[in-house]
């Protein structure tokens, strides 16, 4: 009943073909759809945070503008560029997988991971900076002007939950990339079986998209206000 599949030494069908599927193509299509459905859940997951953000920004525009100014726009913009760059390298990795160019695939996967790590490193620097300035809610939070301190606490609460959750997703993404790197280096990924790279790419691009929205919403408010500290 199995259609012609790529003949490897597995009795006529691909070693990575699971036995409840009839063909590798069916498996790839199902896996891709599965990843897309998972990304739907991620949209709604982050979406709840965007809802909270939208409400409080509507209610407390001044506090949000002042708080946003406390974030370093240079690090934010740099990280945005880094993440977009990592999406490029990821897309190029997928391309290399689809054309069977193993060494390029490995190179681009590593580049993607490097850029992802740089992103996380910068976030670490930013978080340390927040800690120094007493802008971590629950840990001696203090904000000037004091009249906006309560509402600023909401901004920073959302900042940490949103960027923290995003960072956790990045870390998971690095884990997935490590796994893909292993499979790329040991020959599991081939021109016929490139879909794990494509599917991992979908997850990675999604994490990039979340940041594409987080950046303007968190970093770019209140930039027209008169001179601030940085």
């Amino acid at each position: 009943m199995l259609p012609e599949a790529v003949a490897h030494n597995h009795g006529g069908h691909h070693p990575m073909l699971a036995h409840h599927f009839d063909s590798l193509e069916e498996q790839n299509v199902a896996s891709t759809l599965g990843m897309w459905v998972f990304l739907v859940t991620e949209v709604l997951f982050f979406g709840g945070l965007f809802m909270a953000y939208t409400l409080y920004r509507m209610w407390y525009p001044d506090a949000f503008a002042l708080s946003s100014n406390e974030l370093d726009i240079r690090w934010g913009a740099f990280n945005t560029a880094v993440l977009i760059g990592s999406s490029l390298t990821m897309a190029l990795a997928v391309h290399a997988a689809q054309t069977g160019e193993r060494s390029k695939l490995v190179t681009f996967l590593i580049l993607t991971m490097v850029l992802g790590t740089v992103f996380l490193g910068v976030k670490g620097i930013e978080y340390a900076d927040k800690f120094e300035h007493h802008h971590v809610p629950g840990l001696n939070f203090h904000f000037e002007p004091v009249s906006e301190m309560a509402h600023a606490q909401i901004f920073f609460s959302l900042y940490f939950v949103m960027t923290g959750l995003h960072a956790i997703h990045m870390i998971v993404g690095l884990g997935i990339m490590t796994w893909m790197l292993v499979w790329s280096m040991n020959g599991t990924i081939t021109k016929e079986y490139a879909s794990p790279i494509e599917i991992s790419g979908l997850y990675w691009h999604f994490v990039d998209i979340v940041w594409i929205f987080l950046f303007p919403l968190l970093y770019l408010l209140g930039r027209t206000l008169p001179a601030v500290t940085h």
Partner: protein, 97 residues
Amino acid sequence: MSEHIVPKSTYYAIFGALMVGTALTVGAAFVDLGPLNTIVALSIAITKASLVVLFFMHVKYSPKLTWLVVIGSVFWLLLLLGITLGDYLTRGMRTFG
């Protein structure tokens, strides 16, 4: 299902567009456009996200079901935001005059 291989030149072009968009949104943040600031920032973000979805994530070359899934998820998020805001935005309104 055909496996469409997107040419690398497309990827580079999209990357360029995304970087331009990032520069634009940062620049626009320093110009006081009043309420338009938000609209500009969101429009640029939506455009960038769409480019990533269509080209990096291959949705432009994907079957209709994928389109349905993507659009459905965004639509559902807008339902959450829209209906909840519908409560908050109409709270001050008096009933029946």
